[in-house]
């Protein structure tokens, strides 16, 4: 059972109390963008075995979105952080580096 702590309400919630929102840190390409960018935005997703960044919704709880960093292989949670950011904060990156030296995910490492 995956247990994530929502940074907004501070509660530890198991995954049945949350709603998965897919990959985190996607940059939207909308009208006026190139076909390649738009296609990548719509369809191209990471599918890593290891470090992954995801969006989660505290659905029957405080109703806010947040980000989580976890390992898809072991379900180890490295941390959760605000959704109001375009990249993982340093403390989360450091926590991952401590456990998975040399990790990288998209442009982050």
């Amino acid at each position: 059972m995956l247990i994530l702590t929502c940074p907004n309400c501070g509660e530890a919630k198991d995954e049945t109390e949350l709603h998965a929102g897919g990959e985190a840190h996607l940059k939207r390409f909308g009208p006026g963008s190139s076909d390649a960018d738009f296609e990548a935005y719509l369809f191209e997703r990471e599918n890593p075995k290891g470090v992954h960044f995801e969006r989660w919704h505290c659905a029957p709880g405080c109703g806010k979105w947040f980000h989580a960093a976890r390992c898809t292989m072991t379900n180890e949670v490295f941390g959760t952080y605000s959704a109001q950011t375009t990249e993982p904060p340093e403390n989360i990156k450091d926590a991952i580096t401590a456990k998975r030296p040399g990790w990288h995910w998209r442009q982050f490492s």
Binding site: C9, G10, E11, D14, T16, G61
Partner: protein, 180 residues
Amino acid sequence: MSNLRSFEGLVTVREMPLRGMITLRGDTEVMTAALKSVGFELPERGMCNGAVVWMSPDEVLVQCPHESVGQTLAALQSATQSMHALALDVSDTRTVFEITGAATREVLAKLAPIDLRSAQFPVGKVRRTRLAQIPCAVWLREESAAEAIIFRSVAEYALGVLQSAAHPQAAVGYFASNKM
């Protein structure tokens, strides 16, 4: 009100009479000021201070007698008139179940995926969670009495799952044997 539902088993489950409930949303400062205007205080994060139930970083539920909900709502709305805020009467959307008895924690633990040990869930702590498959906000009013707010449209379901969890022959005794 004679049609209030109730059930007795490991705990007593009782639907409470109509209660005035007002959703108030806004920033902390806005909510603090608005609540002050009607004589209430903003509870700490995740807590219920009697009348006011913390719901999320920008939402609280104000409880008042059903007769005075219009008055309280008007006061909250005039206090937040020039601010980015929302005050809305949700009394008829929701209903409140009261769960009383020594097995209160145990019955709740069967239905909600939350840590009900007293260190994690002390009296006054509010948890928005699910009761089996429906959303609910629950807190302990005292050690052996909880109140759960649920949507009125699923009240029958809530009573049903509470009845099965509180079936007289369905005792687990976890909290009785583990003093935590």
